[in-house]
Point group: C2
Chain length 64, copies 2
DNA sequence: AAAATATTATAACACTTTCTATAAAAAATG
DNA sequence: CATTTTTTATAGAAAGTGTTATAATATTTT
C-alpha cells in the first residue's frame, strides 16, 4: 500500500473531506489532494504528522 | 521577536545544536539553519511542530 | 599553541508545499 | 428532476525543504 493509497484509505475510513484532513494535519488542502493523486510524496515532517495522526486513530496498515 | 530569533533562542536555551533541533522537529539541518539566518519562514506544518516543541519544553515568548 | 573535531553558514538543485483559481464531479436541497 | 452546495481534481507561480557539498568558525583534544 503506497502512501497515496494510505492517505485516501485513512481519510475515507474517518469520513473526512480532504479539507478536513488537511486541517487535522496542519497542511493545505492542495497537499492532501496531491498526496492522494500521487503527484508528490510527503516531506519528512509531513510523513511524521500523518503517521502520528494514524497512530492516534489506531489505524494500522500492516495487514492491508 | 521574529521567528528566526525564536528558533535560535529556544535552541540555545536547550543547548542544542542545529542538527539536534532538526532531529527533534523532524526537519533537516538546512531547514533549521535557514530559519535562524532568516532566509525562509517555516511551512504551516513546520511552524506547528516548532510551537508544539516549545510548548512541550514550557518555553513562552510573550514577555520577551 | 597546534591539530583534530564539531558546529555553523552558505549555496545549487530537485522536489514539496502553499496559495490561488478554475472546472468537474458528487452530494444535498428544494 | 433541477438547482444549489460541497467535494474533488488540476494547475501555475512563489516559497519552503531535503540532499549534498564546501568553507568558515568555534570547540575540544593532544
Amino acid at each position: 500500500m503506497v502512501f497515496s493509497e494510505k492517505v485516501k484509505y485513512v481519510r475515507e475510513k474517518l469520513k473526512l473531506s480532504q479539507e478536513d484532513l488537511a486541517h487535522e494535519l496542519d497542511v493545505s488542502f492542495a497537499t492532501i489532494n496531491r498526496w492522494e493523486n500521487g503527484s508528490y510524496n510527503p516531506s519528512r515532517l509531513a510523513r511524521k504528522a500523518f503517521e502520528g495522526f494514524c497512530a492516534d486513530k489506531n489505524i494500522i496498515f500492516e495487514e492491508i
